[in-house]
């Protein structure tokens, strides 16, 4: 007998796939784009959920990895477009698979370097320092004019995937949905592995983990790097969705939004980010249609969720989590 959470998760997965397919054949491509946005933001938040939900590392700087992934896509595509070699005579590329590899590599490297310093701290220091590092990259992107600086960098034609017409909304959605599914499988495997068990133990009691002979710092660093990699892939997809990268992908509001998605859905839950992204994007769309001041009401709703609905959406529906 599957638990209520599993049934709810399955429903979410089917819903996120069925609606855009139906909308695409019904001639409503806008809803496909909306669903693509949900899938991409979910993937970014699944990445953050590894650090935040499993490891208890409240990173307020994941926009850094999201933006690095986005810039990886933008920079590679712009070099492929102009024909100028990128570095050491290597050309740019328009192949999504190569771009994803570069994005993961760059995101992972950045997460490693940032994690090396920030993971020496904990609690409120960690929150502020991850924020500060993300700001550092944000200001660098703004003041470095080679790739658009403050104005951002356009991607003239969406990047390519072998055998798929990525310019059409539905195939691109399916690519994003496939990667999201991969991300969720990874999260689940990770959660149930020995490593995941150690990571969750670190969240609950770091001292005890250290006393049985596991070094918490290395566990946290590895989790932070994997988390940054996943978020970076989502960033590359997001750049392709908008066909545009700008420093706003690196902004602190973006980091905040990713945290919001997770808490809205349910911290540490497998499908928490998906539920959160669905609610957030639809709320944004619906409120945006009703009032110009949608951010005001979004703020009120978020405040209500934090104060009165602990455990997020999945917590409300599936009951309190077992994890503590």
């Amino acid at each position: 007998m599957a638990s209520r959470e599993t049934i709810f998760n399955l429903m979410l997965a089917v819903l996120l796939l069925a609606v855009p397919v139906w909308a695409s054949y019904g001639g409503e491509p806008f809803y496909v784009t909306l669903a693509t946005r949900i899938a991409i933001l979910s993937l970014a938040a699944v990445g953050l959920n590894i650090a935040l939900g499993l490891g208890g590392l409240v990173s307020f700087g994941h926009a850094a990895f999201f933006g690095i992934g986005g810039y990886a896509a933008g920079i590679l595509a712009s070099h492929a477009f102009s024909g100028d070699p990128l570095i050491f005579g290597l050309p740019g590329t328009k192949q999504m698979i190569v771009i994803w590899l570069v994005a993961t590599g760059a995101g992972g490297l950045a997460a490693f370097l940032i994690g090396l310093i920030t993971l020496r701290t904990s609690g409120v220091y960690f929150i502020m320092i991850t924020l500060a590092f993300a700001q550092m990259i944000f200001y660098f992107a703004i003041s470095w004019p080679a790739y658009g600086g403050e104005d951002g960098l356009p991607i003239y034609v969406r990047n390519a995937f072998p055998g798929v017409n990525t310019l059409a909304p539905l195939p691109f959605f399916l690519i994003c949905y496939g990667l999201l599914a991969g991300g969720l499988v990874l999260f689940k495997l990770f959660q149930d592995s020995r490593f995941g068990a150690a990571l969750q133990a670190v969240r609950q009691n770091e001292l005890r983990v250290a006393s049985v002979g596991i070094a918490p710092y290395r566990i946290k660093l590895a989790a932070f790097v994997i988390s940054g990699m996943l978020t970076a892939i989502a960033g590359a997809l997001f750049a392709d969705l908008n066909r545009f990268v700008s420093p706003s992908m690196l902004s602190w509001q973006m980091s905040g939004e990713l945290i919001v998605l997770i808490i809205l859905g349910g911290t540490g839950r497998l499908f928490g980010p998906v539920a959160g992204a669905m609610v957030y994007v639809l709320l944004e769309y619906w409120l945006g249609g009703v009032t110009e001041r949608w951010q005001f009401f979004l703020g009120l709703i978020l405040l209500g969720v934090v104060l009165f609905a602990r455990g997020g959406l999945i917590g409300l529906i599936a009951g309190r989590a077992r994890h503590g």
């Binding site: 935040l52 409240v58 307020f60 310093i117 920030t118 020496r120 701290t121 609690g123 409120v124 220091y125 929150i127 502020m128 320092i129 924020l131 500060a132 590092f133 700001q135 550092m136 200001y139 660098f140 703004i142 003041s143 470095w144 004019p145 602190w252 905040g256 945290i259 919001v260 808490i263 911290t267 001041r293 951010q295 005001f296 979004l298 703020g299 009120l300 978020l302 405040l303 934090v306 104060l307 602990r310």
Partner: protein, 306 residues
Amino acid sequence: MQTALIIEQLLNGLQFGVMLFLMAAGLTLIFGVMGLINLAHGSLYMVGAFACATVAAWTGSFWLGLIASLAAAAAAGAIVELVVIRRLYERDHLDQVLATFALILIFSEGTRWVFGSFPLYLDIPALLQGTVPLPGGSRYQLYRLAIIGAGVAVAIGLFLLISKTRLGMRIRAGESDREMIGALGVDVATLYTLVFALGAALAGLAGAMVGAIQSVQVGMGEPVLILAFVVIVIGGIGSIKGALIGAILVGVTDTMGRFLLPQTLMLFMPPSQAALIGGAIASMLIYLLMAVVLALRPRGLFPASG
């Protein structure tokens, strides 16, 4: 000429640092006493600036505007504390981050609703217009010197408040053991509201004073908020002394970096490239400073005890 320019930039850095101190002092006080991370502190800075600009436009007096900024920010702080923040003290930092993030959305959009999207302007008061001579022959804006003076006065006042008065004693006691002072008959809830309003008033004052040299607009608080975070991380969270030293360090490093780095690089590369690279590195300099401080002392320069 060069020394005059350097003195001028140093004073600019000092003024920037003093302003950061006003923000950081409130943040660090609120964190030290209540253990709360308040992202909405930048919104209180914005409230102060808007209150000052509005009242100054109505009455024609900057000074009335300054009083209004203190009152408005303190009132906004007290209301927010009573309605929202006091439910968050027992929660973990994640909930605090999210709730105060929501408060930023509400404050920013609410302000845009009332005042529109166009920036307001605030004039420097007549008394403080003009410049004063500097050694080396150049002149410096009197108003910026006044900001430095006001900041130093607030720092001294805050030091006296915390170390010499009964309220300060209670604040310090609240930092070390809130249950004990509650048991001794101190009304902890009121004390917390007071501390939050005090921090808010300091942020509002900073916003009002800076409003006269920059434009008053929605979103002006968040960049300053993030710098204030850097300041208290460098100084040690919960320490007023750390906030002061951290703020001056950050203010001077940032200003001097933007001034000196491009010039230094120009000695061994073409000017256009030097300006580019120098500018990019300068914008990251304070974060590098923070990284170095943390690598050496993970709890900041002056970690608060306990």
